[in-house]
């Protein structure tokens, strides 16, 4: 491991794609091409989820079931937590807790500073989706086809709602509504307080993608090759856009720009309100990871890491690191953190 000090502690990135609105690095300065790897950390097994960052610590779950807390400045290990099964879930931060789902069907809440387990919430099948925290409630979907809402402080269940198929999509928690994709091919709108199904909209195949919300639109991809924009209050399809293959990537939204990858290898930039194609750029053979939007650039892991100009889709730079197609980078003012399928974690500056 090489170490290089950085003068500023990194900014926060407490959940998948930065925050509950999945804004990524928007608002930060334009991401320049990294010049060097500040450090490299070996997790020991594949990483199939995305890192998160809080209070100067990067949290990464490896598929073998270990949650790593890594000093974001030095790359040194702070602590490790070994869960009893594989982990594919991107962690989330809730105040002083770090939460993640596990293949043993549980969501674990650990003390952020020490890695000590505080509580666990139980479902009946693996939890690959990231737990999402809003207003003191943790929401997560499970492969047992149920959505769970538990108290963020103690993990006690508030409600459980059964849907029609397995859930690998990470819930989008709005102020009063939740949105999630499901293996039965439907996108669901749920009442956040009760879990009541408010609407559901059928697509042409199962859904692996996680939704984003822009204005009154829920944006999501489906394995039926289409990107959908649904009206958030009714589920009515406003537009849909066809790609060349199934979509398990998730959309990143910045105002009127929506960017999403497809298994056809392209990254697509669409007009959020009309679905019109602005550009598409091939970045690899397959794209399944969600893109991350920064100011003027969009980053995607697709065999390597690519940064594209959001206006033109031109590739600004690429790094032949982090050969993962399922993870998403963490972008900060001066650093980029990435995890790879081979279990390497990099801090680039």
């Amino acid at each position: 491991m090489t170490e290089t000090a950085t003068p500023n502690p990194p900014r926060e990135w407490p959940t998948l794609l930065g925050d509950n609105a999945r804004t990524g690095a928007q608002g930060k300065r334009q991401l320049h091409m990294p010049e060097k790897a500040a450090w490299q950390y070996r997790a020991g097994s594949a990483v199939r989820s995305a890192p998160v960052l809080a209070q100067g610590v990067l949290y990464v779950a490896s598929a073998s079931g270990v949650l790593h807390a890594i000093d974001a400045v030095t790359g040194a290990s702070r602590w490790k937590f070994e869960s009893p099964a594989e982990v594919h879930s991107t962690p989330s931060i809730s105040v002083n807790l770090i939460l993640f789902g596990c293949d043993d069907g549980k969501v674990y809440a650990l003390e952020q500073s020490s890695g000590q387990k505080v509580w666990e919430a139980v479902s009946q099948a693996e939890v690959w989706a990231s737990p999402v925290v809003r207003n003191g409630v943790v929401y997560f979907g499970s492969a047992d086809a149920k959505v769970y809402a538990v108290d963020a402080g103690n993990g006690v269940a508030k409600w459980v709602q059964e849907l029609g198929g397995k859930i690998y999509s990470t819930i989008y928690a709005g102020e009063g509504q939740l949105y999630v994709g499901c293996g039965d091919g439907k996108v669901y709108g749920l009442e956040a307080a009760t879990g009541k199904i408010l609407w559901s909209t059928l697509t042409g195949n199962g859904i692996d993608s996680s939704p984003a919300v822009a204005d009154d639109l829920v944006l999501i991809g489906s394995e039926d090759f289409f990107v959908y924009a649904l009206k958030a209050n009714t589920g009515e399809v406003k537009w849909k856009f066809e790609t060349g293959m199934g979509i398990s990537s998730s959309p990143a939204v910045s105002g009127d720009l929506t960017v999403i990858g497809s298994k056809d290898g392209y990254l697509y930039a669409l007009d959020t309100h009309t679905g019109n194609l602005r550009w598409k750029t091939i970045v690899g053979e397959i794209v399944t990871a969600p893109p991350v939007l920064g100011d003027g650039v969009v980053c995607i892991q697709a065999g390597g890491v690519f940064a594209l100009d959001t206006r033109s889709g031109q590739i600004v730079w690429r790094a032949a690191l982090a050969g993962a197609i399922q993870s998403a980078p963490v972008l900060t003012d001066d650093s980029l953190y990435m995890a790879s399928l081979s279990g390497e974690i990099y801090a680039l500056r």
């Binding site: 020991g44 097994s45 594949a46 199939r48 598929a63 073998s64 099948a125 690959w128 492969a143 047992d144 086809a145 198929g165 397995k166 690998y168 999509s169 293996g183 042409g204 195949n205 199962g206 859904i207 692996d208 394995e223 039926d224 090759f225 060349g244 293959m245 199934g246 398990s248 298994k263 290898g265 053979e285 397959i286 399944t288 050969g323 197609i325 399922q326 790879s340 399928l341 081979s342 279990g343």
Partner: protein, 387 residues
């Protein structure tokens, strides 16, 4: 620390060495003369099943095709359902699909569905077909908890999104992690031992899920050419998807897929448990297999084949891929012209006249000689059902 422990410990930082034994694209220093002896170690005193390969219907292959089964690269669920129903009834002579499936699985079975996700998403075992197979197995009375969909590499299963696309309650298992070598899902007492190119680890172990967990296997190969073995069909999907450390049998431009594929399929309990082969020919890769994503060489053919005899099935597949290559002006899979070789996989993927290895389609006939089935086209009962 014995030699194997040392090898595993020493290779922790090199995923390809640990998992593959050798980088298959390493060049051979010299031309190997002949295949080395291969020691096979199955479970001693294992009682073979009469359902084991070549199974209940040696030499019979039933094929159905419907051009509407795949439209704009999407597989039609209802058409696949109908095709599967038709071919199963024709294979068995039963009037109902349920009775046809009941010839192969019983309610007490633990059924493994061996998919081929390599090459996902462009060409892999279609989730739509797997859903229908699951429903058929359930129709016989096998509980959902006793159905497991599996393959070697979990990351390839992820790319195919099988987890999200298959029904709730179905277990989906990736035996090992290809990139970091994690996973101990192999049975140490069942293995094939041979030294092909001087590799340190000379054993390939059988997956525990095959050795112990499942009682029946429904094999779902795809219809593709293969840069080393000529085609990847029922035999290769079973053999190289069940045993680990198999890429060591290739060192460009040479490969020992013949005879290892057939030999592996004779090892018990794999031979007895693999009772049915359902070939997914919705898409047909005629160049660049098994991993290509280049759509130029993938035809949307809408074919479905079933057989209990993997040799007969692969013989029909080989004939079909050969025909397709001939139609497209690509050289035969049997070609052994040195000028066709390239060490560059990017060149290979985009040029049908190039290949990485001297292909070994003879592995199918070799498997026939081992008693796994019929490889003589004149003796194969190839039944075609048109839409």
């Amino acid at each position: 620390m014995d030699r194997r422990s040392f090898v595993k410990a020493g290779c922790l930082g090199s995923a390809s060495l640990l998992v593959q034994g050798l980088d298959p694209l390493l060049r051979a220093d010299s031309v190997p003369t002949a295949a080395p002896p291969v020691e096979l170690h199955g479970f001693p005193n294992y009682k073979p099943s009469p359902l084991g390969m070549p199974g209940l219907f040696p030499g019979r292959v039933v094929e159905a095709r419907d051009a509407q089964a795949i439209v704009r690269n999407r597989v039609s669920q209802p058409i696949v359902r109908r095709l599967l129903d038709q071919v199963m009834r024709e294979l068995t002579g039963e009037t109902s699909a349920r009775d046809a499936w009941a010839k192969f699985v019983e309610p007490k079975d633990v059924v493994g569905i061996k998919i081929n996700p390599s090459g996902a998403p462009a060409c892999c075992s279609s989730p739509e077909l797997i859903r229908e197979i699951i429903a058929a197995v359930q129709s016989v009375g096998v509980p959902t908890r006793n159905i497991v969909v599996y393959d070697r590499y979990s990351y390839e299963i992820d790319i195919g999104s099988y987890q999200a696309l298959l029904p709730t309650g179905i277990r989906i298992v990736g035996i090992q992690d290809a990139f970091s070598g994690a996973g101990n899902g192999y049975e140490p007492l069942v293995y094939c031992d041979a030294n092909f190119f001087g590799e340190w680890e000379t054993r390939s172990y059988m997956a525990s899920i095959v050795a112990h967990d499942v009682t029946k296997i429904i094999n779902v190969p795809t219809m593709k050419d293969h840069s080393a073995s000529g085609v990847t069909g029922a035999l290769k999907n079973l053999a190289y998807g069940t045993f680990n450390n198999v890429a060591r049998t290739h060192r460009a431009p040479h490969t020992f897929t013949n005879p290892l594929i057939g030999l592996m399929c004779t090892v018990e309990p794999l031979r007895s448990k693999a009772v049915l082969h359902v070939m997914d020919g919705m898409r047909q890769v005629w160049h660049g297999g098994p991993l290509t994503q280049v759509q130029d060489y993938i035809d949307q053919t809408g074919i479905l084949m079933v057989a209990t005899d993997p040799v007969a099935m692969d013989t029909i597949e080989l004939q079909a891929i050969e025909k397709k290559r001939s139609e497209r002006g690509a050289p035969s899979l049997w070609q052994r012209d040195e000028s066709s070789l390239t060490p560059d996989s990017n060149v290979f993927f985009h040029d049908p006249t190039k290949n990485l290895f001297f292909r070994q389609p003879g592995h199918i006939a070799a498997a026939g000689k081992l008693g796994l089935g019929v490889s003589d086209l004149k003796q194969i009962d190839h039944r075609l059902i048109s839409a």
